[in-house]
Symmetry: C2
Subunit: 187 residues, 2 copies
Amino acid sequence: MTTLGYALLSLLACESLSGYDLAQTMKSRVSYFWHARHSQIYPELAKLEQQGYVMHTVVEQQDRPDKKLYTITEEGLTQLRQWVTQDIEVPGVRDELVLKAYSLWLAAPQQAIDLFRQHEQRHMQQLAEYEQLASWIQNCWESDGQRLDSPWFGSYATLQRGLGYEREYINWCRWVVETLQSSKAVI
Amino acid sequence: MTTLGYALLSLLACESLSGYDLAQTMKSRVSYFWHARHSQIYPELAKLEQQGYVMHTVVEQQDRPDKKLYTITEEGLTQLRQWVTQDIEVPGVRDELVLKAYSLWLAAPQQAIDLFRQHEQRHMQQLAEYEQLASWIQNCWESDGQRLDSPWFGSYATLQRGLGYEREYINWCRWVVETLQSSKAVI
DNA sequence: AGAGCCATGTAACCGGTTACATGATTAG
DNA sequence: CTAATCATGTAACCGGTTACATGGCTCT
């Protein structure tokens, strides 16, 4: 089993979806912590089905192309359950902007300021999207009684990370810009 | 040019290093925002040399094997300077722990608590290392007059991100644990 | 008429990891 | 004697991205 396999099972544990839907869902809702293109998803679904973790039924549609609706099996759920709390290594981060920051001493300050302002903006946009989503999901979870065994708890937990991540990233961008500006005055 | 190429140039812009040293430096000092194995570094250095961005001299050593000391060239510096402020896309994050959090509703709360306590610990350790490094580097930068064109500024800027990242990660782990505990009491 | 969405796949490529390979010196 | 560190490389593999390929429906 690959991590992508578990990612797909995680989504299918909440609802049955087609390969196309899985790609859409990843793009829009869980893009923060995982993403995959359809070219990776379709073969992975086939593998999961071969292993018995998912199964599909063809849903015929008139106005649109037919689709394969994938559903998680009992074995799939079992597999997913044993994976969730299994320990993992802390993955090494690779962030090109932080890498660029390492060589910021070689840059023209104004150009550096522009770059980090741009990224501050982008992360503020992302944060705004997550905040909207968070208030929605918080509602869902609350009307579900804030139960730990409600799928909304999972969504809410990941979103909490997304919010924190973006806020911290924005803070850092601002710190870089301010440092570049204040020191510029010193020169 | 690959990003790894720029990562190596970034390090070589501060000091001349061997392939082995580059691997060590990445492991110890810049592991937060970039990392690479020696199997990737050696071929990349050869490519950089072919392109004229670095050059090497063989340093003979008695007590140790001889080594190739790589130095950045003027063209290398020029290349690096134009890359630093060039815009990039915000990279998609992939974090398996956050992915697991999404399926936390399927887990036994106590096992989940153990997992997130473990990761809280690991990030606290990482944070402690960064904090030590930060006070050291801050000193270096200050005795360098907090100049924007001092390499210490670059190191300090990336470390600021490292510190913020780890602190936020720890906060999130704690939030997950607390939520799992408080809701447990409700049940 | 053309752009864009729905829907599913395959193939080539590339960056990164793991493993293979060698060999000297030093510390326990 | 053995393990670890210094030092440099190659090869196989694998996950992920980009591009190729097809085709119907809907909205402008």
